[in-house]
C-alpha cells in the first residue's frame, strides 16, 4: 500500500497516475524535486490543491534541463500563461511527456510546440533559424544558416506554403530512424 504520506490524497495520486505515465512513487519524487527548488514557496501539503507557480528561472536550472539548448522553450510550452512559470500540474505534465513511456505521437505534438518559437502554429523560417542557432551555439555563418533552413523547408514542406505545419512536421518525424529512443523531447528521467 505504500507509506502514509500526507502530501496528496489517494484520489489525487490515482488521478495523477491516470493522467501521466508515472507511478505513485515517481509522482511523490517529482513533488520532492518541485519542493526543493523553492522550499519556502511550495507547500508540503497539496491536498487542497494550492495555487503555486514557480518561475522559469528556477526550472531551467534543474540538472535534467540545464544543458538542453531548448530549455526555455520546453518550459514555456508547458506553462499555462506561456511565460514559463509552472504549477505543479504543469511540472508533472512536462516530465510525463518527456519520459520514455510517452508515445511518439504525443512527443511529436509537444516537439512542434517547442520548436515553434513565435507560437503561430507554424514552424517558419525564423523559427528554424533560431533552432539552428541554439543547436550550434551560433557557430555557423549566415549563408550556412540560410542554406540549411532552405533545405529543411524544401525537404519537409508538403503543402507548399513555405513553412512547416504540424502535418508536415509529423510526417517528417515519423520517417526518422531510431526516432523513438532518445531524440525529440526524449526520455528525461527524474
Amino acid at each position: 500500500m505504500g507509506n502514509k504520506q500526507t502530501i496528496f490524497t489517494d484520489e489525487q495520486l490515482d488521478a495523477y497516475q491516470d493522467c501521466t505515465f508515472f507511478t505513485r512513487k515517481e509522482i511523490l519524487r517529482l513533488h520532492g524535486r518541485y519542493h526543493e527548488m523553492a522550499p519556502n514557496v511550495v507547500p508540503m501539503d497539496y491536498t487542497k490543491d494550492p495555487d503555486v507557480k514557480l518561475p522559469m528561472q528556477l526550472i531551467i536550472n534543474m540538472p535534467e534541463l540545464k544543458e538542453n539548448p531548448f530549455k526555455e522553450r520546453i518550459v514555456e510550452s508547458f506553462s499555462e500563461d506561456g511565460e514559463g512559470s509552472l504549477s505543479f500540474n504543469d511540472f508533472v505534465d512536462m516530465f510525463s511527456v518527456l519520459s520514455e513511456m510517452a508515445p511518439r505521437e504525443l512527443k511529436a505534438i509537444y516537439a512542434f510546440k517547442i520548436y515553434d518559437f513565435n507560437t503561430d502554429n507554424f514552424i517558419c523560417k525564423s523559427d528554424l533559424e533560431k533552432t539552428l542557432n541554439k543547436l550550434t551555439r551560433e557557430e555557423l555563418t549566415a549563408e550556412e544558416i540560410t542554406l540549411v533552413c532552405e533545405k529543411v523547408i524544401e525537404e519537409a514542406d508538403m503543402d507548399g506554403d513555405g513553412k512547416l505545419g504540424f502535418a508536415d512536421f509529423e510526417n517528417m518525424i515519423s520517417k526518422a530512424p531510431d526516432f523513438l529512443r532518445p531524440f525529440l523531447p526524449g526520455p528525461v528521467q527524474v
Partner: protein, 761 residues
C-alpha cells in the same frame, strides 16, 4: 480507517458531480424531480415529455454512428439528463437505451484509460477525468438492472480491484528492475546509444537467469539430490589412471579431473528411467529442458522484436530528410553533463558543416571506375582474410587432436585453439576497417559493411570449429565400439574370476574407478564449449583492462613527460565500441545455446559472467572512456541486434538438432546411454507412462501426411496476418506522400482489399 476516508471522499465526489449534473439539468431547463437532490443511484422520476423527446433525439444521433468526442461531450449533457431520467424509471428502460448507455459508459472508460495520451493541459485532463469517472460510477450501477444486477455489480467491483492490483503490481515491478540508476548515469554521460548496450546486457542477463533456473531446477538439482552419488557408478567416478592428478589446478582449469565427472557435464547423468521416491523421469526431463531452452529463447526474442517493430514504422534508408532530421533529432535529451553537452554541440556543428559541404559538392565528378575497382579489390582481400582465418582454425583444431594423444603437452599446446580463435576475433576487425578505407563509403554504409564482415568472421570461425569438432566426435564414436567390447569382456572376465572361487556369495563388483571407459563424446563437446566460453570471457576482460584502463592510465599520467600530447593525438582515450561489444554478446549467447545441451552448467557460468560484466563494464566505461566525438547517425535500431540474435539462435539450434537426431549417444555415459538415438526417450515415455490411447494418438499425429499440411496452414495464417497488418499501415503511409488524387484511389483500393480479406475470414 483509510478505507472509510476513501469512501467518504468518494461519495463526496459523487455527490459533487451528481450535483453538477443535476445543476446542468436545471440550467437546461429540464425538470428534476421535486424530491430534491439526493445521493441515491436511482430515484423515481416521471419522465417528462421533453425528456423523452431529447432521449429520442440522442438515440438518433447515436444511431448515426458519429462517436466523435466533441459530439459526445455536447450530447452528454442531454444524454445524462435523459439517461438519468431513464435509469430512474425501471419500466421504460428498453433494450436500446440500455445498449446506448452501455456504449457511453464504454466510451468514458476508454477515455479514462487513454487520458495520459491526450495533449491537454493537466488541469483540463484532471477535470475531464473526474467527470468521466463520476459518470461511469453513476451509471454502472444503473446498468445492472433486473436479474443480473448483483452479478454485474460484483463483476464491476472485481474489474476495479483487478485494475488496482495491476497498477500496484506494475509499480512493484518497476522497483525490481536492477541497475536502473547505474544505466541512467552512463546514459547521461555517454548518450543513449552506449546505454542501449547496457540495457541489452541487462535483458540478456534476465533471459539467462530464466534459462539457468530451468536447467538448475529441473535437471541438476534432481540428479544431485535424488540420483546416485559420486563414486557409485563408472560414469560418475574419476578413472583410476587419472585420480592422481584429478585435483591439480591445471587439470581443473582444463575442465578435466573432478570437474569433468560432476553434474556440470552431460556424462555425469544416469540413464535410470525414474529416480528417487518422486519417480522423477530424469532422461525425459533432460531432453525436454534442452528443447524448452531453445523454445523459450525463441519466444522471448520474437516478442522483443515485435515490441520494437511496433515502435519503428520507418525504413532507415530514406535519404529525403537529411537536414530536417539533423535539425530536429540530433539533440540527445539525456545529456546532463556539461562536458558531454559541449561535445555534442561541437559534433552537431561539425555534422551540419559536413552536410553543407556534401550538399555543395554533390555534383562533383568522380572516377566511377576507379572507385568500383577499389571496392572489388577490398572485397577480394577481405574474403581472402575470412578464408584464411577459417583454414587456420581448422588446422589448429586438427593439431589439438594430435596433441591430446601425446603426453607432456605444454600449456600453449593445450589451449592453442581458444587462443587462436580469440586472437582472430581481436585482430581481424581492425584489419577489415583498414582495408575498408579503400572503399570510400559513406560512414553509415561503411559501418554496415563492417558489421556484416565481422559477423561473417565470427560465424565462419564458429562453424569451422564445429566441423572440426564433428570430425573429432566421429572418431570418438568409432573408438567407442572398440571400447565397448573391451568393457564388456573385462566385466565378464572379472565376474568369472570372482565366481571361480566357488563361493555362492554375490560376486564383488568391480570398483567403478577401474572399469574401462568409453570416450563419451558428449562430455568432450561440452568441455570444448565451456573452455571456449571461459577463454572468451578472459580475453574480453583482459582487452577491456589493457585496451581501456591501462591505456587511460598511461595517457593520463605519462602525458606530463611525453613529447606529443597523448590525449589529443595517438593513443588518446578509448571510445566505447558499441557494435563490437554487442556482437560479442550475441555470439557468446550463441555459444551458450549450442553448448548448454551437453554441459548443463554452462548457463550458470554465463549468468555469473553477465553479472560481473555489468559491473565491470560500467566501471570501465565511466572511468576510462570518453564520449563519442562524431554524432554517429549509425545508431542501429534495437531490431537489428534482435534480428542477429534470432539468426544466431537458429544457427546454434542446427548442430544440436543434428547431433540429437543422427548421432547415437554414448553407451556408458549420460542420460540417454543404451538407446540408439536420443529422441527415443520420448517414445519410451509415451509407451510406458501414458495410457494406451495417447500412444495411438501420437502415432497418428506423427504421420508426415498430417504434419506437412499443418505447417502449410500455419505459414498461410502467418502470411495472412502480416498481410493484413501491412494493409493497415499502407493508407497511413500514403497519407504522408501528399498526392491527393492517387492517394484517394489507392486508399479505396486498399480498403476494398482489406474488407475482402476480413470477409474471407
Amino acid at each position: 480507517e483509510d478505507e472509510s476516508k476513501e469512501e467518504d471522499s468518494c461519495s463526496e465526489q459523487n455527490r459533487a458531480s451528481r450535483r453538477k449534473n443535476y445543476e446542468r439539468n436545471n440550467s437546461d431547463g429540464k425538470k428534476v424531480g421535486e424530491k430534491g437532490i439526493q445521493p441515491r443511484e436511482t430515484g423515481k422520476k416521471a419522465p417528462t415529455k421533453d425528456q423523452k423527446e431529447s432521449a429520442n433525439k440522442v438515440k438518433k444521433t447515436n444511431k448515426k454512428g458519429k462517436g466523435g468526442e466533441n459530439k459526445q461531450k455536447t450530447d452528454r449533457k442531454n444524454s445524462t439528463s435523459s439517461a438519468s431520467s431513464n435509469s430512474s424509471d425501471e419500466e421504460s428502460l428498453s433494450e436500446e437505451e440500455l445498449a446506448m448507455l452501455m456504449e457511453q459508459v464504454e466510451q468514458k472508460k476508454k477515455l479514462i484509460s487513454t487520458m495520459r495520451n491526450k495533449p491537454w493541459r493537466m488541469v483540463k485532463k484532471l477535470s475531464v477525468l473526474r467527470e468521466a469517472q463520476a459518470f461511469v460510477e453513476k451509471f454502472e450501477g444503473a446498468l445492472g438492472k433486473g436479474k443480473g444486477k448483483k452479478l454485474y455489480a460484483y463483476k464491476m467491483m472485481m474489474a476495479k480491484k483487478w485494475v488496482k492490483f495491476k497498477r500496484d503490481f506494475d509499480n512493484f515491478k518497476t522497483q525490481c528492475i536492477p541497475w536502473e540508476m547505474k544505466i541512467k548515469e552512463v546514459e547521461s554521460h555517454f548518450g543513449s546509444s552506449v546505454a542501449s548496450y547496457f540495457i541489452f546486457l541487462r535483458w540478456m542477463y534476465g533471459v539467462n537467469l530464466v534459462l539457468f533456473g530451468l536447467i538448475f531446477g529441473l535437471v541438476i538439482i534432481p540428479e544431485v539430490l535424488m540420483g546416485m552419488p559420486y563414486g557409485s557408478m563408472p560414469r560418475k567416478t574419476v578413472p583410476r589412471a587419472e585420480q592422481a592428478t584429478a585435483m591439480d589446478f591445471s587439470v581443473l582449469w582444463d575442465f578435466e579431473g573432478y570437474i569433468k565427472y560432476s553434474a556440470l557435464f552431460y556424462g555425469y547423468y544416469n540413464n535410470q528411467r525414474t529416480i528417487g521416491w518422486l519417480k522423477y523421469r530424469l532422461p525425459m526431463a533432460y531432453f525436454m529442458v534442452g528443447i524448452s531452452v531453445f523454445g523459450y529463447s525463441l519466444m522471448v526474442v520474437i516478442r522483443s522484436m515485435a515490441r520494437n517493430a511496433n515502435e519503428s514504422t520507418a525504413d532507415g534508408d530514406d535519404e529525403n530528410f537529411i537536414f530536417s532530421w539533423k535539425m530536429f533529432t540530433s539533440w540527445d535529451y539525456l545529456i546532463g553533463n556539461p562536458e558531454t553537452a559541449d561535445n555534442k554541440f561541437a559534433s552537431i556543428t561539425t555534422s551540419f558543416k559536413e552536410s553543407i559541404v556534401d550538399e555543395q559538392e554533390s555534383n562533383k565528378d568522380e572516377n566511377i571506375h576507379l572507385r568500383r575497382f577499389l571496392r572489388v579489390l577490398a572485397n577480394v582481400l577481405i574474403i581472402c582474410c575470412l578464408c584464411g582465418s577459417g583454414y587456420l582454425i581448422y588446422f589448429v583444431v586438427k593439431r589439438s587432436q594430435t596433441f591430446s594423444k601425446m603426453q607432456n603437452v605444454g600449456w600453449y599446446e593445450r589451449n592453442e585453439v581458444e587462443i587462436v580463435m580469440s586472437l582472430l576475433g581481436m585482430f581481424c576487425p581492425p584489419l577489415f576497417e583498414t582495408i575498408a578505407a579503400l572503399e570510400n563509403y559513406h560512414p553509415r554504409i561503411g559501418l554496415k559493411w563492417q558489421l556484416g564482415r565481422i559477423f561473417a568472421l565470427f560465424l565462419g570461425n564458429l562453424y569451422t570449429f564445429l566441423l572440426a569438432l564433428m570430425d573429432d566426435v566421429k572418431e570418438k564414436l568409432a573408438e567407442e565400439d572398440v571400447v565397448r567390447n573391451i568393457t564388456h569382456w573385462t566385466l565378464l572376465g572379472h565376474h568369472n574370476s570372482s565366481m571361480g572361487n566357488g563361493s555362492t556369495a554375490a560376486p564383488p563388483l568391480l570398483d567403478p574407478a577401474d572399469v574401462p571407459r568409453g570416450p563419451c563424446w558428449e562430455t568432450t563437446v561440452g568441455i570444448e564449449f565451456v573452455r571456449l566460453t571461459v577463454s572468451d570471457i578472459l580475453v574480453t576482460y583482459i582487452t577491456i583492462l589493457v585496451g581501456d584502463f591501462i591505456r587511460a592510465c598511461f595517457v593520463r599520467f605519462v602525458n606530463y613527460c611525453w613529447c606529443w600530447d597523448l590525449e589529443a593525438g595517438f593513443p588518446s582515450y578509448a571510445e566505447f565500441d558499441i557494435s563490437g561489444n554487442v556482437l560479442g554478446l550475441v555470439f557468446n549467447q550463441g555459444m551458450i545455446w549450442m553448448g548448454s545441451f551437453y554441459a548443463p552448467g554452462l548457463v550458470g557460468i554465463n549468468v555469473l559472467r553477465l553479472l560481473t560484466s555489468m559491473y565491470f563494464q560500467c566501471w570501465a566505461v565511466m572511468s576510462s572512456n570518453v564520449p563519442h566525438e562524431r554524432v554517429f547517425k549509425a545508431s542501429k535500431s534495437n531490431n537489428f541486434y534482435m534480428g542477429l540474435l534470432l539468426l544466431i539462435l537458429f544457427l546454434s539450434l542446427l548442430p544440436v538438432a543434428y547431433t540429437i537426431m543422427s548421432l547415437p549417444p554414448s553407451f556408458d555415459c549420460g542420460p540417454f546411454s543404451g538407446k540408439k538415438r536420443m529422441y527415443e526417450v520420448i517414445q519410451e515415455t509415451i509407451e510406458l507412462d501414458f495410457p494406451l490411447f495417447v500412444a495411438k494418438i501420437f502415432s497418428y499425429v506423427a504421420n508426415p501426411g498430417l504434419i506437412i499440411p499443418a505447417i502449410l496452414l500455419m505459414v498461410a495464417h502467418v502470411t495472412k496476418v502480416s498481410y493484413k497488418n501491412s494493409m493497415r499501415k499502407i493508407p497511413i503511409k500514403l497519407k504522408m506522400t501528399g498526392h491527393p488524387s492517387t492517394c484517394l484511389e489507392l486508399l479505396t483500393h486498399f480498403n476494398l482489399q482489406r474488407i475482402t480479406v476480413t470477409h474471407a475470414e
